[in-house]
Symmetry: C2
Amino acid sequence: MIKVSCAEILCIGTELLIGDIVNTNAAFISKRLALLGINQYYQACVGDNPARMMAAVKGALSRCDMLITSGGLGPTYDDLTKETVSQALDRELVLHEHTLERIRGYFRRRGSEMTENNLKQAMVPRGAIVFDNDWGTAPGIAVEDEESGKVVIMLPGPPRELEPMFDTYVMPFLRKYATEILVSRNVNITGLGESTVEARLRPLMESALNPTVAPYCKEGEVRLRVTAKTTDYEEGVRMCDQMIERIRATDIGPYIYGIDTDLEHAVVDTLREHGLTLGTAESCTGGQIASRITDVAGCSDVFIGGIVAYANDVKVNVLGVSPETLKNYGAVSEETAREMALGAIERLGCSVGLATTGIAGPGGGTPAKPVGLVYVACAYNGGVTVDRLMLSGTREHIRRLTSNRALKMALEAVRS
Amino acid sequence: MIKVSCAEILCIGTELLIGDIVNTNAAFISKRLALLGINQYYQACVGDNPARMMAAVKGALSRCDMLITSGGLGPTYDDLTKETVSQALDRELVLHEHTLERIRGYFRRRGSEMTENNLKQAMVPRGAIVFDNDWGTAPGIAVEDEESGKVVIMLPGPPRELEPMFDTYVMPFLRKYATEILVSRNVNITGLGESTVEARLRPLMESALNPTVAPYCKEGEVRLRVTAKTTDYEEGVRMCDQMIERIRATDIGPYIYGIDTDLEHAVVDTLREHGLTLGTAESCTGGQIASRITDVAGCSDVFIGGIVAYANDVKVNVLGVSPETLKNYGAVSEETAREMALGAIERLGCSVGLATTGIAGPGGGTPAKPVGLVYVACAYNGGVTVDRLMLSGTREHIRRLTSNRALKMALEAVRS
């Protein structure tokens, strides 16, 4: 068996080089390689140019034993990954009958015709292992080239084909290459900035050799990645849990809201544990909170529904906000937020009501009520808590931070 | 002035290599470099390791004249970009007083204390141009090194700092390096798969040398990127427009819904043009349609609001769906979708009502009503159109395609 000490990811596609799409495949694949303890030191992207693709493939194979590519397996004339890799490994491409039949079947089931250019998607390097594509046409391919001591895995570019193919077929294939494994836990923190977290935890982080503790930012939250290197999964989990207890004992402790979760999952799980239900009344977040909660599969025992009261009439007619409140305090006010949250409970029949009203920008601000002014309310157990936030940044960022705060308030209300 | 023929992007951060976060910076930066006509052939990611960072920086500078880095400018002990680049360019780091004052002020305004580790964020290579960070602490830095003939630009990692800094300060700085420019237009298509589009357009695409036409997939849609290389922006626009007219004249034409837009912007613009308003009644999409529409700044003249009727009680009590309909046909049915769309119009007072009801999965399916069965309805001008979809894929993908279809139906209803 080929010994793999490190792997590189090479994503192929000119659309990546000119920023037409965001590269989610690299994050997806690298996360899984890390779980298998396969070292990664480098990732790259290259365009649909044969010469540069060849240089990138050869460069990667000069540095590592395993190369995983995404993209360039499509039916179009500029899809050249298999041609490049088979040339680099000096293996001819041969027709894979099983794949040809599957591609025919795929088009037949969809009631459309297979075109001639799909034929080339059934060509694979001689001796390759083929991973069925149950979500598209191009199969995944693995070549274990004993002669060069290299393993090359080629995967289709579209994430909705690559991701399920990787978890269903490629992970089992890769397990034999896992040596030591990495066990990671992410500590979810909200309410502190990265430099404050790092300053307070610096002594702990600098002395933590195994597991290591590293801070990073994701969508308006700071997370701590605790990573143990081990040969036994259970031992790795124990090591991480011990380190997490040490972190909880510091003054960062109160700001931790979960482990390996995100706000929406934490809210759904916590409300379910307490036998509670949730409803939303959103203005400036425009449905984002409801959308995030319903991203969580199986949330229907917790989430009743939501009102997106973008226009003031909807706040009055559907949510029951009093016209006097709107007239006296305005739509963006503590009083309106309070009534929206209570309105959610009354109209939707839920236990916990979240409401948001504010100015997400870039337009709509005034000196008295500038862009970034947001009120977030949480109604529960007969009471209402309202937070006033003064946020800055883009419309997207203001909406994101507002829905983060609302979800956190639901957690705090229920857990206190 | 240094002649720049090509640029590379190097994103720094171990969190990228192990998939903790998705690399949006590369897409953001590369899109803008492409607009300036600066060639890009390669992108890479490397971790917070000094030796490998140096190898990656030197490798990039051996291939190109301009290197843009993101990440590694933070206050923590593993932030080493400036140290690495200044060593590679043989320039010492000096204290930038202006930046030090700004960092002090940033913490003062937030009512928290500046920590000692923020001091290192005020160090810059001698002679560097500094770009203020109006959204965080670490300044952006550009070094134009005449001796080596290289330009190196270092930017903070968090996208919500890098993105506005790039558009505000870095783009003006980069304009002097723009030679020929690329003018791109994206043709938005919905309802056809990539291989069908490519098969029908192959002769046109193969003969298109300038502008070029390339297909790519993004979030359930196929787009055609039309790119003209020119020295005059207006001429580039004309060249693209001419090519787009040729594409419209093919049998792909009817599937084009917009140029350089996305479904949500196309819906808001089109409804605004017609003086119409929109309301939503969502079940399986859970607020996603409302959230996408309200992503569009200034949508409040078009978007009235939405009901997220996740539980059946909400469909009855808030939207006015008849209990008999639910009993006889079920929540996931053409009849319920129809009543939800009409309910949106009645309760929200909008001109166009969109409704979705279905089974997004992974649970909840039955043999009669499997996962992926979705009904999408559009009520307008006294009539209701209902589409029945049989989708496959992940929960995220089914929800995404469903909201795409709903938005497309709004466009079709209003434009017909």
